[in-house]
Symmetry: C2
Subunit: 195 residues, 2 copies
């Protein structure tokens, strides 16, 4: 197999990239962007070798502790629990939350062999015991698995005197009712807010 074909099939490991886009990417890089492509190859190699999980919050970082866990400007009393580093980044970009995080890397799913240990619950318990945390915000997805995981964490917190909350659920901002799914509308209708 020629190097070009190897490169094309290798690019297909990227999410959302099929044979046609892989071909387009290869030609673009090799014809117009060789310097930057070499840079990408180098950074990708370094990233694969050096990036691992933060020892405290389990997000991705090339150091022992991530930028947020190292910072002394974060509120040590609030902890936000998320499913993935991408969700962490999303919350950092969208909110002014100043506490710290804990990344589960998934949701409870006993059938797939994902139990509390796989999600780092031992570390979480440890962290809740050692640190001066008094509020936990559970930001798992609003799916069945996400909610089950949230319930599990909430029960754990309720045994201590740590306050526990989940993200509000309802009609998305800017969402036209006509296009919002019926279970969301039913929930939003039941949990209507005083205006």
């Amino acid at each position: 197999m020629s190097l070009l074909s190897q490169l094309m099939s290798s690019f297909q490991i990227l999410p959302g990239v099929g044979p046609k886009s892989a071909q387009r990417i290869c030609f673009n890089l090799l014809q117009k962007n060789k310097t930057k492509a070499l840079e990408l190859a180098d950074i990708l190699k370094q990233a694969c070798e050096k990036i691992g999980e933060c020892n405290r919050c389990r997000t991705l970082t090339e150091n022992e502790l991530c930028r947020i866990c190292l910072s002394d400007k974060r509120n040590a009393e609030q902890l936000c629990i998320v499913e993935s580093p991408a969700d962490l980044m999303q919350i950092e970009q969208s909110t002014d939350f100043s506490g710290t995080y804990f990344v589960l890397h998934g949701n409870l799913s006993p059938l797939d062999g994902v139990g509390p240990a796989e999600l780092g619950f031992p570390n979480l318990v440890d962290l809740l015991a050692k640190e001066p945390i008094n509020e936990v915000i559970i930001a798992t997805s609003s799916t069945l698995e996400g909610q089950t995981t949230a319930q599990f964490i909430a029960q754990m917190c309720n045994q201590t005197d740590i306050e526990c909350s989940v993200l509000a659920r309802g009609v998305p901002l800017g969402g036209e009712l006509e296009y919002v799914d019926s279970s969301t509308i039913a929930h939003a209708f039941g949990s209507r807010e005083k205006i």
Copy 2:
């Protein structure tokens, strides 16, 4: 800047990849596909260092001559002229053309400083003189630049006794007339074929 942010901005050199997809790609590779990502980094580096242009037809290859130019099963009398290696691949996949190719790497565009020399015309003239070519098929795009380039090549061929043709233009197969642009319809109407 952290290695993760560097990787995210580096992935944005890929065509069609913005900040959000770059983020998705990074997390996917680092969390689930590290081995394959390392492989990609390695192949990309090799490809950038080794892949250059074929000495005869100017397509991309890691050798002196590409697979097609090296093959003794190709018809040496037919030459197809294309704009890019991607177009070459498209014709190889879609037709049973058995001749050889010549890649222009663009179209004539004097305002952008792309003249005959940049498109490899000296090599092309050489090739037409030395090889037993008696038919040239010009497969440039059906755009203004592509057509100008085709005209230029046709004039060159008409000074010799090499037969010269361009791809047929008309309504695409499976195209519903309602959605075909009006200049294509006008052309197809004018060049209607006997049935």
